[in-house]
Amino acid sequence: MRLGYAQRRRLKRIGFWALAAVIVIYTVFPFYWSIVTSMKTGSALFSVDLLPPDPVWENYHLIFAEQPFARNIGNSVLVAVAVVALSLALAVTAAFAFGRLRFRGRVGLLLAILAVSMFPQVAVLSGMFTLVRWLGLFNSLFALILTYLIFTLPFTVWVLTTFMRELPKELEEAAIVDGAKPLTILTRIYLPLLVPALATTGLLAFIVAWNEFLFALTFTLSNEMRTVPVAIALMTGGSQYELPWGQIMAASVVVTLPLIALVLVCQRMIVSGLTAGAVKG
């Protein structure tokens, strides 16, 4: 049977939406499952329900009562915010140099920065541990802030350099003729134009710092210094042989919410076309 044009179009549309539905379910289902699980206790945890039969908030209460989870969240916020602030500040100034100035070894240096991120985390772990001990930062949040820059700086520098290079050179020259000093040019002319890039890279850096596990596990010791991923992983139940799945899921839901909020806020800043009108394009 040959299908008419309208029928083929309808089939194509059905196919498209079916594919979209599969992708949405695939990505959202795990999160949905943790929400459902976080509202169950006891043996209900091991039954398969799409909706919790009788939802309870006990797990959400317990994670804050039985361990310093609020403190862990605070640690994570502190570390992530500090990492974002530091890497953006360093990356913007580095990108200004890489994108705007010509100097010997520019490409080599850029590649070196990228190379830093190529080593597997485990490979740098022991060396980094020695460094952290030597600096006296063991079991301190500063150790995490410092070491997370290894992950965040390469991509923040690279992305911002690319953006910086695409800003029209005439803008800088116009500002120079207007009497602006380099720092003024960076802060008053370039920074406002880089907001979308800053929002994107800042968000990525935040997520990296928020979710990092291995360094956080290695460089902290006490419950009070742990960040959220480690705290969740090391949660223990009533006995050694019991994993408190309900609480783990509740904790996961709690720490994902700030990320979602952050993405929604940043999304409004990630708008294109900020440079429209600068030069005739």
């Binding site: 005439e170 803008l171 116009a174 003729v177 207007d178 009497g179 440079t275 429209a276 009108g277 600068a278």
Partner: protein
Amino acid sequence: MARIGLSQVTKRFGGTEAVSGLDLDIADGEFVVVVGPSGCGKSTLLRLVAGLEDVSSGDVRIDGQVVNDLPPPERGIAMVFQSYALYPHMTVRKNMAFGLSQAKLRREEIDRRVRASATRLRIEDLLDRKPKSLSGGQRQRVAIGRAIVREPKLFLFDEPLSNLDAALRVEMRMEIAKLRRDLNATVLYVTHDQTEAMTLADRIVILNQGRVEQVGEPLELYRRPRNIFVAGFIGTPAINLLPCTLGSGAEGTVIVLPGDRTMPLPETLRACFGAGEVPSRITLGWRPEAVNLRGGTGGRKDAITLGVEVETVEHLGAETFVHARLDQRTIVTATAGANFQAQPGQRVAFELPLNRCHVFDGEGATLHHPSSGEEG
């Protein structure tokens, strides 16, 4: 207002010289247009005066003071960029005020100047808009406004009209001419458009490969070009250039025109060489308006008459350009009256009066140009 002096200014980028040993003096309040083909170094020249590039050697003087080591803001200049370079995140008002606030002027003074400039350029209504919501012509005005609020000694324009469409370009050209009269400022203006140069300039500087070919008033360059390059660059349609060779024949010196047409060297041309040796190669040039169209052949004694084949006829309304082929390589253009009609392929005769002929030697330097009374 300011006097500008460039002496032996050279700028090298790596191995190439963008500007070589350039001398130029600009008087107070003068409007000088630098014109030349792309890559001739004209934008570099402007950037050297602005201070956006450093000279490799030589001196740039403003009001007699050497400014080689002064940064741009201390040179008392304002620059209008080809791409406008407006700050996209700032309103028109902030764009215009930015330079003044960097100079730490008082707020009331900044306000006063921005408003005065906006009124002058008729952009008062746009002050709170951002560049992206402006049209090309409006952006151009804002860019000029940003320059005039600073009340500079010297205005630098870098091809300011090249991004505008034709109609707007003519309008802005007149506006710049008017603005310049009002401000009475010294202006250095770079363009590749010789019409802009002819219409705006007090004096034109013709630049080619980093060197000055000729400096002079627009009509002087048109009537008395110093060499083939200047003759060919100024004027639309371009001057007709006929490369010729000179040799000796039975009746004395003969001239061989393109298409291997040989004729005795007319006495008028003989006079150009003076008492000196007759060169072996010369180039003859006629402006299109000097070429007369004739129906028949056989012509006047004081003119060279060429039989040509019409290629294209361009009716512009008031006048007509006739492009005709002399031989494989040579096209000759004539200006004809509004009603001239001819079909492509038709044979016509072009009469080239000797008294309106430019003569160039083998190296391209001018040997003779028509006296200005006859040209024009």
